[in-house]
Symmetry: T
Subunit: 145 residues, 12 copies
């Protein structure tokens, strides 16, 4: 199984930025946790981050045929990007929406996810563990095929 | 670790009711999966279902001191019950919101969860696996204490 | 043909409560009219009332295999209960929405029925006659099968 | 008893137009059913259809003194016509709102009836049977006078 | 000066219909008052009523070159007709919006006039006197040219 | 007959302020026109202006027993003052709402009058003539008593 | 005078649950204060709590003839229950809405009370004293009869 | 190929009415352009205009079997008519929505087209050329069959 | 203890104005009741009324250091004044919101209090007794310090 | 150059009131800073404060011909006063909107300024420095003439 | 004549992505059709695609002086990009909005185009033919200059 | 002191694009003014422009430790970008929101700034002078540290 893990804007700041909300774990720490868990189950991981909406769109498009599941933490673009939504429904690869914080417990404008409607499911609120839960979820999806 | 798994209205119909949305797994199947996974990690499980909003409120209240984490699939009450919200914030036990289907991909009125703001996090869209993911999440919460 | 006639909160007060809106007929009078008309057409009637949302949910669930048509006057829960909606769509038994008063001619918040979208049809505004019209409607549905 | 049965725009297409929603029964079939049932109870029927909002307004006005009950399926004008509403409240003849489909289970803009607030009651969702149920309802209203 | 006085749907019922709101004066009484006052000031009056939105549109179009001022009581179409609005702005004849009742003191949906934005002014709430006030207003407009 | 003519904020600037919208007539010119027309019909006029909401409230209160009709151009307070509304309904003196411009043809926030619901009627859009039309309206109201 | 004091969901947790908002006083403490004050004025007190919406509905219904005033702290159901509203207007017993906290100073969704429109008045924000104030209010209502 | 070109209210005024928005071309000019282009491609044209919503409904109904494509400039009824929408979906003939002006660049209330959801496509903003573009579009639709 | 009792616009009319809503008690009667009850408990009363929003603002500002509790019936300004809200939060003196009528049972625009969020609590619906209840509430607040 | 600096309700409390939001600087401190900076550039300063909306309106009206630029911190009236807006557009003197706090970062109701649309520009969020920045801005405006 | 044809996010996937909505034609096919038709009329074509909002903004800016008409299918950015809107109004080159699908017949959030207000016109719903129709429209615009 | 001045989409067009709204000053002119004023006060300036949302996000992230204050004119992204908001709150560098035009006096959709809530303050409406005012503001912020 191949996992494509995509991280949106400002996630490169993780561990420095607003630790009260996002914790002190860095994106590199998360990448390592994901690789470890995935490795245990024989899954490959492609892990990326971009601040550019259009680059995330392109990466999602390229997942077609190259990944079995996408783990997407679209960050702020979750709430503003129809382009990501169209990319997900266009690529046809099952996508899991991941958030470090519980977006439903924050500001009103973060409650609405424009991409949720085309994702398989959503995991949010567990900090870095949201990513490893999503790896578990990927395995569950994969085993059903 | 003690897990209290609460299921709201109509979840007793699982496996019979609208299988296109909810799948053919029964609530008993889910209970078994939860017990197995929890058992592996030495966690106890108290698994219940009720169609009565007030009974769910009472069970959540009683978790105080009797459970380490609540897994709550509040079903339809997710979208209409302030009483459940108050019970969760009153009981002080970390609560994980669980849904079989991706509520954000369904009718508009299911996008809004009245309880999300007082829950630790949300897992939805993975069918029966949403529950086992929540068990993993409980372990993650517990290990941080 | 078996008819399950369910009455929601406060309908037990019928005949005493706000007669300007609901008339002086009691729920027992209505039950009798329903039984008479149903009896003429060889239909059995199970007639109940509850103030508890969850009990109404359970009764609707139990209709599966035990009733051919549900006549549901959900009273105030019409406007607030997603749980009843899910029970109706889950039970699979054709359900007719009944109201004594014309809910569309009353306060704004009574115009919206959360259960209408999963019911066969709606009859409202004819007082006790709404129920007997619904019996006629049940016969019409039944004869089409 | 004299019944005036008025049909709004596009109901002349009945049986041809979108049979998945409206069925294959024609307006002539419905007229016949209404006349039969009304005839049994000694009631006269005046049955009309128009695509013109203003013509429907005029017919409702003329009901004053010429009809005991109006059965009105205003079709699309249900959702857009204040003129029909004013005609109904002006004419003073009890009016029953009839719809073939369950308007509350269709597109959002069909949930709101501008005429409901001035009608006696509403019957919708039973196909052609909505009309015969309305005849029953008319008899019920009439017998109360 | 030539005045075109147009009356919309249900105004032909005036004096019979809902006298609590509209009074007992008939449309013929109003016509007479208008003719008398206009006559005193040497103005001609063309006074019409229609229940048809499209016929009112046509009459407004024909005012171009044939009338100096239009007095328009569009009745219910005030709140629903963009076609009347377009006819008024297209015809170029100054138009005065007239209402018997104070539309701003009635149901919410009567507060919004779709035609107000293209009318010279609005007079409402004075019963039949709304029309004679509008004749005064016409003289005022005319004298400014 | 005694007329109390009240003018709200900024109307003292009339003739100087934004002549494209309000014309070049001053408030003194309007007062003179009102006095002339009222004088012809034997009516007394008390004509005032204030920029203070509370002072307008007091003047309306004092009209009780001292005026037969109030002509009120509340200016900007039309759209923001519940206090004026309460004063009008409290004083019991019939009040006519007057505006120089057609408020329904201007910015959205000027379409809503908080005082309209407790006024006899509304006259707007005729510039200074709105006031003399209101004098005519007052005579019409008075003659009906 | 007989007082029926009803407490809704989660009020049984009082004193333990979120003391920052609700204080440390228990429901038993409140009951005692109410009984003391009522006792001084010769009034009987029936004091109950339930987490079940339907049970509260039933208790309100039973007040008919058994209580002179209802003191109702409906807790979370204040904001979601039309059934309680209908029970109050059906029972005909004057009802006083009580809240420990100032609901208008908390989350937006707590500002709207569905039951307020059918209650005599509202007292909120004074902690346990809200109840004793409501006893005073009951005496005031009672003395006016 | 047979084209039915329908024009709604006020389009008969074209060339006279508000030339800044709609240009100086008359409806007759447009008809000629349409006939010329259609003629080149061997298509017949039936070109009509009405101010009556109901007449437009009837013409659309009659297209069934008599036209291959409808070109519909519904004018103001675009924004208010559910009856036209139902006629289009009922007739089953592919319909192209045409507007002279770019409705999305005008007043807010013109941005919403009630008929768009049942039309093949929309062409707006090109003045008279919107019609000839729609003829091209018709040929494109027709060639695909 | 020193009480500052402030009364907003139109409360000087009390007893004359709309007695169906506000009763026949005058503001002087209320002042006397307040003084009597306060006197019994050794509290001083400063009782004022103004129709001017700005004057109420000034009086609230001056309470700083001169009053222990403010009883504020802001009348219509309750629903429109941010200035009063800022004055209350600026003065730092605990303020109790008082209303004669149950504002939540009246017109929609009276349900929203702009000042509630900065007040200690709200008492409404008990007529003149609302004030004496507020005196009791003041004593309760005071005794807690 | 002459500067008119106007301060709305509660700004007289500056330095005492809610120092967390507004700081400890008093209005007198600000006046001094403004006078110093203006003095350096040879500008005169007229500096006033009022709690009365109508007085602020009058002062703005009087600026016509007496001031080159108005600096207006309307305080709470920013969000509720159409009268101030009309005064500004009526006076014709360029007006700069000033706020101590960043109104867009506070409660939702403070985000909307009713006067912004008729002001030259807005400076907010810099505490007392907002005023001196506005003096700089005045000089910039003035130098462009 | 020079045409700049710009394609937004995900249009590079055309022919693969969701063929039920967008058809099987690729973007290369469309480019060829556009070039052929433009070539026949002696027009040059510059045809590009980008997933990056900012790159589309830059290309539109560069059109100034380099293109006579822009054909813009902004894809998902149609509904979210104010930057594109500003680029179009800034560049001054007439722009035609093109969509393959009828955006008004799809999800609610696709009905609103943020760029429509600054475009010449809109063509949508004709699949690949939307582009060739836009070429025709460009010629029509160009011939008018 | 180090200032980072960031300019969003389309600001590179300044001086050419819509001079009625933005004036004829170019971005280079503004850069020069900023450098001059900053230079006088010994501050360094880093001045950049980008059409790419993601590049602006990256630049803001990099300000951490490299700039004392950010001056941000985010152009159109002001109204659509949550990513910029998160970058600002993540970087921790005080940020001043700058706009050439008064955004609150333009189209409705420009009134809402998504970044305002995390900025120090806002300066808008003074054309190029908005930038130099922001330099003054930066000095004021800096001097307080």
């Amino acid at each position: 199984m191949k996992l494509l893990v995509l991280n949106g804007p400002n996630l490169n700041l993780l561990g420095q930025r607003e630790p009260d909300i996002y914790g002190r774990t860095t994106l590199a720490d998360i990448e390592q946790s994901v690789r470890e868990l995935a490795g245990k189950h024989g899954a490959e991981v492609d892990f990326r981050q971009s601040n550019l909406e259009g680059e995330l769109v392109t990466w999602i498009q390229e997942a077609r045929g190259n990944a079995d599941v996408i783990l997407l933490n679209a960050g702020a673009y979750t709430h503003t990007s129809v382009a990501l939504r169209d990319a997900i429904s266009g690529t046809g690869v099952p996508t899991i929406e991941v958030h470090l914080s519980n977006i439903h417990a924050r500001e009103e404008f973060r409650h609405k996810s424009l991409i949720a409607a085309v994702c398989k499911g959503q995991i949010c609120g567990f900090g870095a563990a949201s990513y490893t839960l999503a790896v578990h979820a990927s395995l569950s999806i994969s085993s059903k095929k």
